[in-house]
Symmetry: C2
Subunit: 646 residues, 2 copies
Amino acid sequence: STKWASYGMFYKYQPLDLIRKYFGEKIGLYFAWLGVYTQLLIPASTVGVIVFLYGCATVDENIPSMEMCDHRSNITMCPLCDQTCSYWKLSTTCATARASHLFDNPATVFFSIFMALWAAMFLEHWKRCQMRLNYKWDLTGFEEEEVSDHPRPEYEAKILSKVLKKESKNKETEKEKLTWKDRSPAYLTNIVGILFMIGLTFAIVFGVILYRISTAAAMAVSSDPYTKDNVRVIVTATAVIINLVVILILDEVYGSIARWLTQIEVPKTDKSFEERLIFKAFLLKFVNAYTPIFYVAFFKGRFTGRPGKYMYIFRSMRMEECAPGGCLMELCIQLSIIMLGKQLIQNNLFEIGIPKLKKLIRYLKLKREVKLEPDSNYKKPQQYEADYNLEPFAGLTPEYMEMIIQFGFVTLFVASFPLAPLFALLNNVIEIRLDAKKFTTELRRPNAAKAKDIGIWYNILRGIGKLAVIINAFVISFTSDFIPRLVFMYLYSPDGTLHGFTNNTLSYFNVSHFEAGSEPREAMALGYKVEICRYKDYREPPWSPEAYDVSKEFWSVLAARLAFVIIFQNLVMFMSDFVDWLIPDIPKEISERISKEKLLMVDLFLKEEQTKQQIVEESLKGTAIPLLVLIAPLVYGLGLLFILPF
Amino acid sequence: STKWASYGMFYKYQPLDLIRKYFGEKIGLYFAWLGVYTQLLIPASTVGVIVFLYGCATVDENIPSMEMCDHRSNITMCPLCDQTCSYWKLSTTCATARASHLFDNPATVFFSIFMALWAAMFLEHWKRCQMRLNYKWDLTGFEEEEVSDHPRPEYEAKILSKVLKKESKNKETEKEKLTWKDRSPAYLTNIVGILFMIGLTFAIVFGVILYRISTAAAMAVSSDPYTKDNVRVIVTATAVIINLVVILILDEVYGSIARWLTQIEVPKTDKSFEERLIFKAFLLKFVNAYTPIFYVAFFKGRFTGRPGKYMYIFRSMRMEECAPGGCLMELCIQLSIIMLGKQLIQNNLFEIGIPKLKKLIRYLKLKREVKLEPDSNYKKPQQYEADYNLEPFAGLTPEYMEMIIQFGFVTLFVASFPLAPLFALLNNVIEIRLDAKKFTTELRRPNAAKAKDIGIWYNILRGIGKLAVIINAFVISFTSDFIPRLVFMYLYSPDGTLHGFTNNTLSYFNVSHFEAGSEPREAMALGYKVEICRYKDYREPPWSPEAYDVSKEFWSVLAARLAFVIIFQNLVMFMSDFVDWLIPDIPKEISERISKEKLLMVDLFLKEEQTKQQIVEESLKGTAIPLLVLIAPLVYGLGLLFILPF
C-alpha cells in the first residue's frame, strides 16, 4: 500500500480490495467514490476545455466586444461613484469585454446542460459501482442497523441522570426515553446557533462589500494616475482575498461549532450523531463558501438605482455596479480564486502541513522527555510506539466535505467557469494520493468499520445536483448577456445581427438631472462638456414623457429571461430523469449472479439437510432410539409457534 | 364476499385479507390501492368544496365582475367574427364573469399547491401501506422475477422459427436471442403507429375546433334572436359532447391497437408484455383524454391576432376567442363535462352494461342450444357450469387505467376545477363496489397471481404528480386572471385596488382600421355609430406612435406570469421533496418487527442445528461409524467451492 500512496502512480487504478482489507469497508468506499468521481471528471474537464477554447477562438468575431472596443463610437459613460469619479469612455473597458466573451458565449449554455446531465450520470454510475462493490465485498445481505444501533454513552448518561432526578420524586423505574420536552432546549440552541452563524457569514460578506465600495471611492480621489487606472483590479483582488481568508478561518470554526451543537443535542446512536453533524457542518460550510459567489452572481449591480436616483447604503455609500462587460466576468474571477485558493491552501497545505507540524511537536516533546531521563539508553522505538506517535484518525467527514464542496464548485456555477472541472480534476489526482499517504503514514490506523453505502453524502450530492440545474438556469439568463443578445437579435435588431447591441443596452441620462451634490467635480475630465451620459440599463430616455421609467425592452428582456429559466429547468430535469430511468441501479451481471447464487445456496442447503437427515435416520436404525424421531417435528412446531403471532 | 360487493357497505373498510385469499395478491393490491386512493380523496374533496364555497361567498365582492356587470360603464366591444357579428356591450357577459369568479379566485392558488402536496402524500402513504400489506401477506422476501421470468410461448415460437430459418443455411444450434435487427421492424411499426394515433387525436380535436368556428359563424347569421343569444352556449355544449363521444370511441379503439402493437413486438416475458402494453395504452389514452383540455387551457384565444389583423385558418375562418370572463370558465366546463361524462358512461354504464349484455347473449345462445337438444332433461346447472357462463377475466389493466386517468383529472387541472376531487370520490365509492360485484359475480374467478407492488402504475402516478405541478403553475399564471390582477394592483392601479382593472385589460381599436370586408355589416346594431371598439389584449391604442404594437404592460404581465411559474414550480417541488423525505418508506413498527423476526429466525435455526448435531454426535457415539464425521466438513467444503468462483 505504500506504492498506491505515491504521486507517481496517479494514472493507475487504486487497489481497492487491499484498501478495504486494511482499512475496512467505510474507507474503502470513500476511496472508491473518490476514484469514480475523479474518473468522471476527465470527460467533464475535456468538454470544459473545448468550450473554453471555443470562446478563445471566437473572441475576435464577437460583435458586442468589437463594438465596445471601437474607438470611433466614442460613448460617454456616467460616473461610477459620486463627486470623485468622473465621466469615462466605454472603449476603456475593451479588455474586460473581450475577456468576458471567453465565458459568456453560446457554448456555455450547452456546457451547463452537459454538466447537469453529467451530475445525473455520475450519481447513477456511482450507484452501480456501489452495488458491484457490495457484491464483491459480500455486503449485499448486511444491514447497517445491526452494527450502529447501540445508544451512545452520552445518551445513556443523560437518560440515567433523568431517571435519577425522577426517582427522587417517585420510585418507578420504567424504561426512559428522551421526550420532545427534554430535547427542545437543545433543538432551540441548534436553530439559534445555526441562524446566528449564517447571519455572521452574511454580515462578513456585507462588510467586504462596504470595504470594496469605500476603498474604491477613496482610491478614486488619489491623484496618482496609475492607482486610479487600476482601482477596479486592486479592489476586486483584495476583496476576494479577504473573502477567501474569511472562508478558510470560518470553515475551521464552523466545523467545531457544528460538532458542539450536535453534542448538546445528545443523539441516540453513533449513526444519527454522524448524520446530524454532517448535515449541520455541510449547511454552515456551504453557506460560508458560496455566499460571496451568490452575491456576485445574483445581487451585485442589480440594486444600483439609476443616475440621478442612486441607491445608497448608510446614506453616503452608493451600491456598487458590475464591470461594463457584465457581472459574469467578476463571478468567474471570484469563483476561480475561491475555488483554487481553497483547494491549494486548505486541501494540500493544511492536510499535509498540520499533521506534519503536529508530528514535529509531538516528536520534540518526546525528545525533551527523553532528555529529562538521560539514564535510559536510547533505543529504536518499537513499531507500535512509532504508530502511537501518529495523529489519531478523526473520521472521514472532513475528506467527504471537502470533495462535496468541490462538487458544488464544479456543478453549481459551471455556466460561468467552464474550467472548474479541469481544476477539480488536477486537485483530485493529487488528493487521492495525498489522502492515501495521510491514511497510511501520518495517521494511526483507523478502526475498520463496515458500511454499505456512503450514507447521507449521497443525498447531499443529489440535492446539489438538483440545485445546480436551477442555479445554472439563473446564471445563464440573469448574469450572462446571452438572453439580452437573443432578444435584441430577434426583436429589435434592424438586420437580425448583433450590430448595435451595445448601444441598445445603454440608456441615456441628461447630466442636468443629477441630484445636487452628486454630480462629478471634474466635469471636463474628458476634454469636452458632457450633456448626455450613458448607463447600462433599459430605461426611457430623458426626452420621453415617462423619462427614466423602465422601458418596454426591460420587460421583454425580463420575460425572455424568465422563459429561458422555465424551459432550461424543465428540459434538464426531464433529461436527468430520463438518464436516471435509462441506467438501471443494479448492473445486470450482478443481479443475474445474485439470483444464480441464491438458487445454488438453496440447492446446497437442501442437499446438506438431506445428508444430515440420512445420518439421523441411519443412526436411528442402528441404535433404535424412537424418542429422537419426535425431536425434529417438535423443533419445527416450535418454529411455527414463533412465527405465528406476527 | 358478497357483503363487500353491495352498495350499502360503502362506508366500511374492505375485507382485504379475504379478497387476497380468494383472488390472489395482485387483485388484493388493486383493491387496497383503490381503497387508499378513495380514502385520501375525502380530505381533498373537502378542501375542494371549501374553496368552491369561498368562491361563491366572495362573488359579490369581486371588483372585476362588478365592473363588468356595471351598466353605466357602457363599454363597446369589437365583433367576435367577421361581417356577420356586430359590436356588443361588455355588460352582456356579466353572468359569465360572475360564474368564472367561482373558479378564478386566490383560493384556487392555495388549492393547487395543496393538491400537489396531496399527490406527494398519497404516493408516500401508498408506499407505506404496500409495505404493511407485504409484511402481512408475507411477501417481503418474494422476488417478482422468480415467477414471471419464463418466456412467453409467442416469443419461443418466434425464436424457433428464426432457428429453423437459420438451420437451413448452417447447422449450428446455439441458444438464439432476438437481436436488435430482428426487432427493429416491430419497433418501427410501434413508433409509426403511436405517432399516427396521436396525430389522429390532434386531427380530430382540430376538426372539432373547425366545427365550432364555422357553426358559430353560421348561427350568428340566423335571424332568430333566441338562437343568436345562445350561440356560444350551444356551440360549446355540442362541441364538448362531440369531443366526449370521440374520446369514448377512441379509448376502446386505442386499447386494442395498443394490444396489437405490443403483440407484434413479441416481448420476452409476460411481465415485459404487460409493462409495454400498459405504457402504450396509457400514452394513447392520456393524449386522447387530455388533448381537448390542453387546447382550451393553453392555446384557445392565444393566436387570434388583433382587430384589423386577425389570424385566419383556411383563409376564411378566424381563430376563436375565449369568453370575456377568461378561458378558465371554458376550461372548467370542458373539464367537468369530459370527466363526468367519461366516468358515468364509461365506468358505470360500460362496466356494468356490457358484461350484462354479453352474459345475456351467452345465455340466449345456450338456451337455443338447449332447445336444439330437446331430449335432454332440464336440470339446474352445476356451479362450475354457471361459472363457465361468466365472462373471462381480462386483467387489471383497464381498471387501473380508468383510475389513473381519473387521478390525472384530479391533479393535472385542479386549479381550474376544485370540485374534481369530489366527483372522483363519488365515482370511486361506487366504483369499488362495482368492481367488487363484477369480480365476484360477473366474471370467472381469475387465476390468483402473486405481486409485490402495483408495478409500472406507481411510476405513472409519480410522473402525473410531477406533470401536475408544472401544468397547474401554467394554468394559474396563463389561463386564469390571477397574475394580471396582481400586476395591476401593484404596478398600475392608482389606489392599489382592482378598480379599473377591466378597463385596463381592454385595448382600443379604431373601427376605420378594419381590413376591407371584415367590418361588421350591421354597424348600427347598438343604436349609435361606433368609432372606437375595445378588445381584450395589451396593445398600444390607435393614437400612439406604435399603434397596435404590444404594450409595455403586455411584457410586464408576461414577466410576472413567468416569474410565478418559476416560483410556484420550485416551491411546490421543494415541498413535495420535503414530504417525501419526512415520511419514511417503511413504517417503523414494520421494520422493527422484521428485524426482530430475523433475530428469532437465526436463534431458532441455530437451536435446531444444535439439536441435529447432538443427534448426529450421539448416534456416532452409539454406532461408532467414524466415516460419517467426515461428511459434515465435506459438505461445507463443497459449499465453499460453490461460492468461491464468484
